[in-house]
């Protein structure tokens, strides 16, 4: 029993954080939104760090790491509001393909030449797929119409399908929801930092607005929500990695907690910025819209709350002090 990350895990997460902070700043998001121009060097950098192969077994040329490692990196992707399909491809797609024994395309994924768009009945649209473009709240997400039911393996467009999930594929759903939750805590962290930085420099009534308790206390409440969502996400990742039967409940718990933390922080961060927060000029909205998008992806809050409800009130999950982990 040890609920700590290893030094290696923390170092890798920090490396990714530094890389994204250095190469994937808000100006990248603005350029992408303005003209759709993607700088291929950013993706290549992620590939070079081995992240596309993070969960690919070593025998297939990957790093062979686990879901907890991936969740930590997904949180960093959230923190940076990463506009590249790393999480879907490498942290959701790959473990699903590996579990299905569909290892043919893994080499190309590791090499970064194949990106994966994931389709599942729970998602009305496919993120980052190619197809009929839909407008999303998140200007950086490319969505296409849901192709899941078609079972037409050529449907995903330029790259061919690597497999088709069953209608109710719980494993894929769990992976998608877990990695969304991980991104949400990273997004929430970033939004809180943006609000705190602004509160330190904006002055009114002769003092920084961050000295007013009315704001301090709201920002502190965001911190509470975020810090108590994180361990739920890590626990959920470990539960899935351990193959616990109850993993789905823990993932749903994580999705609800992370969604709530991100939503609270998004609203509080806007409020902290005043009218500035209501502009396109301030970067915050990219993070906020990504949060909204992920909150609805891979099962809404209501869906996940119901999964918790069914397990807890339904009685299938043992509860009480002696059942923290079992």
């Amino acid at each position: 029993m040890n609920m700590l990350f290893t030094e290696d895990q923390l170092t890798l997460a920090e490396t990714v954080r530094d890389y994204l902070a250095g190469t994937h700043g808000p100006e990248v998001l603005r350029r992408l939104d303005a003209d759709g121009n993607r700088d291929p060097a950013i993706w290549q950098g992620l590939v070079d760090m081995g992240l596309t192969g993070l969960l690919v077994p070593e025998a297939q040329g990957g790093l062979g790491l686990g879901l907890v490692d991936a969740a930590l990196i997904a949180a960093e992707c959230g923190r940076a509001c990463l506009a590249e399909p790393l999480v879907d491809t490498a942290f959701v797609g790959v473990p699903w393909l590996v579990a299905q024994g569909k290892t043919d395309g893994l080499g190309e994924i590791v090499a970064g030449t194949r990106k994966v768009a994931l389709s599942h009945q729970i998602n009305p649209w496919v993120a980052d797929g190619a197809g009929e473009a839909l407008t999303s709240v998140d200007p950086l997400r490319h969505l296409s119409v849901h192709i899941e039911r078609s079972r037409d393996t050529s449907a995903p467009g330029p790259s061919t399908s690597l497999g088709t999930s069953d209608e109710g594929d719980d494993h894929l759903l769990n992976l998608g929801a877990l990695m969304s939750a991980a991104q949400l805590v990273g997004l929430a962290d970033a939004m809180l930092s943006q609000a705190v930085e602004y509160a330190k420099i904006r002055t009114q009534f002769g003092q920084p607005i961050g000295a007013f308790q009315g704001l301090k206390h709201q920002l502190a409440s965001c911190s509470v929500a975020i810090e108590f969502a994180k361990p739920v996400v890590w626990r959920a990742a470990q539960a899935l990695a351990d193959g616990l039967e109850s993993a789905g409940v823990h993932i749903s718990h994580a999705k609800v907690a992370a969604t709530d933390a991100a939503m609270l922080t998004a609203e509080t961060a806007i409020q902290t910025h005043g009218a500035m927060g209501y502009t396109y000029e301030v970067d915050l909205h990219f993070w906020m819209k990504r949060s909204w998008a992920l909150a609805g992806a891979w099962g809404s809050r209501a869906f996940h709350l119901r999964r918790v409800d069914e397990a807890v009130l339904g009685g299938s999950l043992p509860i009480g002090p002696e059942h923290t982990f079992a």
Binding site: M1, N2, M3, L4, F5, T6, V68, L192, V196, A199, K200, G206, Q207, P208, G210, A211, Q213, L215, K216, H217, L219, A220, S221, S223, V224, E227, F228, A229, P231, V232, W234, R235, Q238, A239, D242, H253, V256, A257, L305, V308, D309, V312, L313, I319, G320, P321, E322, H323, T324, F325, A326
Partner: protein
Amino acid sequence: MQLTYTPEQQAFRAEIRAWMEANVPKEPLVTLECREGYDQHVAWERTLASGNWGMVTWPEAYGGRGLDLIQWLIFEEEYFRAGGPNRANQNGIFLLGPTIMEFGTEEQKQRFLTPMAKGEVIWAQAWSEPGAGSDMAAISSKAVRDGDHYVITGQKTWSSRAAFADWGFGIFRTDPDSKRHKGLTFILFDLNSPGITRRPIRQLHGDTGFAELFFDEVRVPVENCLAGEGEGWNVAMATAGFERGLMLRSPGRFQATAKRLVDLYRQHEAEASPAAREAVMQAWMAAQAYAYNTYAVAAKIMAGGKIGAEASLNKIFWSELDRSMHRTAMQLLGAHAELKRFDDGSVNQWLEGYIFSLSGPIYAGSNEVQRNITAERLLGLPRVGAG
């Protein structure tokens, strides 16, 4: 990250479970907040000690079992699973004990820890004064050095258990010219010393939960001072860290409440609102989140880390969780909640629990103060009134 228990940990759990099942009183004890209940709870402390369960993390030399924090958490889980009574000596074992372990001399450890673990000496905490609540640095009770004694004069208040307890600990101003955090000293004193008057205070629920203490030239030997003279503030902050951060409220307590709430919901499902149903789910989720976080904090400490200002997050979280769980129970109970001593006493447990939960956001440093600390020390926002 490794979230499974070793066979030794599982065996340890089984050992505690068997002991608790055999020893936890079948009938709930009378409330700790009256003479009769206090005596029952002290007797229970001694029963616990007879099984060597007083404080499992302490070294064997001081009445403990020399176990680690994970084993402590397992112990606490089983304790609350079994419905173990409130700990009469919580201020001793969870707050003062770790502080003595960190700051005490070998002689002080020998003298104070073992009787504490054995439930022979029950401790009260005495920081607050009428003029010094949230602003603890405003305390004015004095301890004046006279040879090998301090002579204490002043007043403390809201001291939990002090109406009946044996010993107290607190900080006193030893340097009469000092201001604020300086010139304070952490002193342990016998509550039966000549010159101490205890005045019990009735709480919201009508019973005596805490007391005022009046000190009239109370002589306390200097060897009862913990760490050096003038070090009081630092020592007190360490104690407060234990209080907010880890020990005072172990997760089992809230997981047990969440479980009872789920059962209560089932009983009242027909008339319950969808909002209450969601609140019940939130209760389970939040209690679990608190448990995961506590395991993470325990692992951090075991790896040599310390609890810093993040203890404030903890304190906010558990106190507001406790209040919202009990509020939900009140809503589920509706008009039943009003009746004291209803059916098997379970309603009363919710009512008393609700009343007690209202004090959680006040004691151990009010939640407003914890939010200030979070904002200033964790988020780095400017101090109140900073220009």
